[in-house]
Symmetry: C2
Subunit: 424 residues, 2 copies
């Protein structure tokens, strides 16, 4: 993997792979929903949509025709901290992909007619997410965990905020956030670092150079929200304060998520599904941000069994925080390690990994270094971070027709009164 700060202020990171014929190339812009002011809510995602609606040189149809005529794909995604635009093409079409990416990022047309049409598209996207109970729960979850802060706001915006987006607003957001200094070009597969450098310097010549503003600091808060819903299942998400992307405890917390909810051998899958048949699926996540993190456990079950399942989660965490074994931690490490190695066979995964390393660590991070960091974690590390997280104020979001089981305050009390405290 090669990492380079280019003369024009951009970062270029590449992961050349032999023996494959295709490539993935993308631009990661360090701007997302967290970069928005309250009045700009939904703007980062709206701008991502507008990038594909035409530029000074190409209509929307010409953009999609050009990339799809060579069998390529182009897409984009907006997260809280990043907006990523990426293409997958056969190797001979990398120059075309770079040219299109540069065009849509530096010279989007942002025509008022297109803004109106795209507003409707985004309102449909909001409607679609409102229709899925699990999406409703996961949208509300960060709003509770990071209450009143940009990191808590939903990325799509609200119907009202999307209706308020206009051309001057989009141009302002573009100018302030899409500067060369905020952009990382990441590529993997059948690519050459040196050739890409030339392409990027040429294609992004007109990129702006405003100093990117810092994202506002986020503070985990916690809290509770119950949403009425008449669905068959109750959605239940418990959150705790996690770790930042570059924090020393990033790996112990990530391993805690694996031990609790990663795969069929995990404690929660065994306890909730295999031993009791209470859920179809359960999972544990660790979302790491620049300055904070969010740890979460999710399941869905029928209204009659949500209380029992919630008790099982609370007890399983209390127990795990004192009893992580070498065997289960080795298994969790093997899962993450094999996942890393298998992901290396996909140029899309390697592009994303290179971009993440560039943005989080500001350098290339080798596979060996990541595996060594993983290997160094001990069962006591995982227990320690679990107890630390369980001392944070829980976030509890439930969406359904019945909310049996402990509420957020009871969960905190239960853990505070638990003998695990003595062991800490």
């Amino acid at each position: 993997m090669r990492y380079e700060r280019l003369d024009n202020g951009m970062t270029l990171v590449t992961d050349e792979m032999d023996n494959i014929d295709s490539a993935a190339v993308g631009v990661w812009v360090r701007a997302g929903a967290r970069s928005e002011t309250a009045a700009e809510h939904g703007m980062a995602h709206f701008l991502e949509h507008m990038a594909f609606k035409g530029t000074a040189r190409r209509s929307a149809t010409e953009i999609s025709n050009a990339i799809e005529a060579v069998g390529g794909e182009i897409n984009a995604a907006t997260s809280h901290e990043t907006t990523a635009y990426h293409a997958r093409v056969l190797s001979e079409d990398v120059p075309l992909a770079v040219d299109i990416l540069a065009d849509i990022l530096t010279a989007p047309a942002l025509s008022p007619d297109d803004i109106e049409r795209e507003r409707n598209v985004i309102l449909q996207e909001i409607g679609a997410s409102e229709d899925v109970p699990e999406d409703r729960a996961f949208d509300a979850f960060p709003e509770v965990a990071f209450s009143g802060q940009p990191l808590g706001r939903r990325i799509l915006g609200t119907r009202d905020s999307v209706c308020a987006v206009d051309e001057p607003g989009l141009r302002g957001f573009l100018g302030r956030h899409y500067s060369a200094e905020a952009m990382t070009v990441a590529a993997a597969g059948a690519v050459s670092h040196d050739a890409l450098r030339d392409m990027v310097l040429g294609a992004f010549e007109s990129a702006g150079h405003e100093t990117p503003s810092e994202m506002p600091i986020a503070t985990y808060v916690g809290g509770a929200l119950d949403g009425d819903d008449d669905g068959s299942e109750v959605q239940w998400i418990l959150g705790l304060e996690g770790e930042a992307s570059a924090a020393p405890d990033f790996w112990p917390v990530t391993l805690a998520a694996m031990v609790l909810g990663g795969g069929m051998s995990s404690r929660l899958f065994q306890a909730l599904r295999e031993d009791r048949g209470l859920v179809y699926d359960t999972s544990a996540f660790h979302w790491a941000f620049r300055d904070t993190g969010l740890f979460a456990i999710h399941f869905a079950t029928q209204p009659e069994t949500v209380g029992e399942a919630a008790e099982v989660v609370v007890d399983t965490l209390a127990d795990a925080a004192r009893t992580i074994t070498d065997t289960e931690l080795d298994r969790a490490k093997a899962q993450l390690r094999a996942g890393m190695l298998m992901a290396r066979e996909s140029c899309v995964s390697r592009m994303s990994g290179a971009a993440r390393n560039a943005q989080v660590h500001g350098r290339a991070v080798s596979k060996e270094e990541r595996i060594a960091a993983l290997a160094a974690v001990t069962p006591r590390d995982v227990e320690r971070v679990m107890r630390q997280m369980m001392a944070s104020a829980p976030t509890l979001v439930r969406v359904g027709s019945s909310f049996g089981g402990p509420d957020a305050a009871e969960i905190a009390e239960r853990w505070a009164g638990h003998p695990m405290r003595g062991a800490a």
Copy 2:
């Protein structure tokens, strides 16, 4: 790619890849929801779940611990015609994966206690799919298209049919359908065909040899269903009679789906989203089965705009059936061709592709042969199959609070009266 009928009646198909360290290996059993009698509804999927609940040699926990201790993954999926069990592992763990797959497929414990627990899990899975309007629409869709036939029944079963599943039923289904002759082992990546042959012959020694019964013939029927729903969006799915997996017109119909709904340059994406902002997404599918096929177009939009969007779909198809251009067909071919080439970089895709070739064509089909078949299709072929499909009775499934636009009979009349008839 190598294809071999083994002495024990099984089929082995492998796709060896250099320069990767992992492998995908799976068993495709020629039995699925279509193989069930009415009284067995949901049995194929239930048996797939039970495979992981323990065997004569291993408990459920031992199965998941064994594969996850080496960082592997094991999973399964039930479709109408096939139940597939597959593992992804590092190359040195292929023998373990084959041993576990053989164990769970030939000697599942099927204990009554586990059946009760797994029944609850499947009821949760049904509940989860009931809670998503898009899933409700797509579950109802084949029930209308293949009304009253096994191919139309939903794979999960109903609450009632799942409650009726018992141990003798599962053992009967296993004995009748999981014979060596019905099983294809497919593997890709860091594997050796010759080594796999030995592993498979050893591990599957106790597989049964009942002659697999033929699946009942399916006939496309068409029809209409409107489902009430108070969601933000209306789900709209239009179906037409497609082609069987090995039919001469398989590729023209698949290309029709690409031209209409594949990617951003497709006619429906351009008409519904880019030109009018009516939808967030739209897609066209071609599901091919052994003896028939189902072609489908889907979108979701707000109740106020469903009528307009439906008119756009009907007009777009009427227009496309007379006006497919060389340029757009070349683009559709390039998309499918590049998709095939990029999929070849993933051992999971190559395993699945090899299994599909073995089951559909009974032999290895080279990449060159598939690309040549694709290249031979002309714009007139695509227009011809479109007109043919549009002469079948439409299937129209709508789920929402308002059902504006033409109904199934009006769509058929509109197309029948259209000048495209004269051009046929």
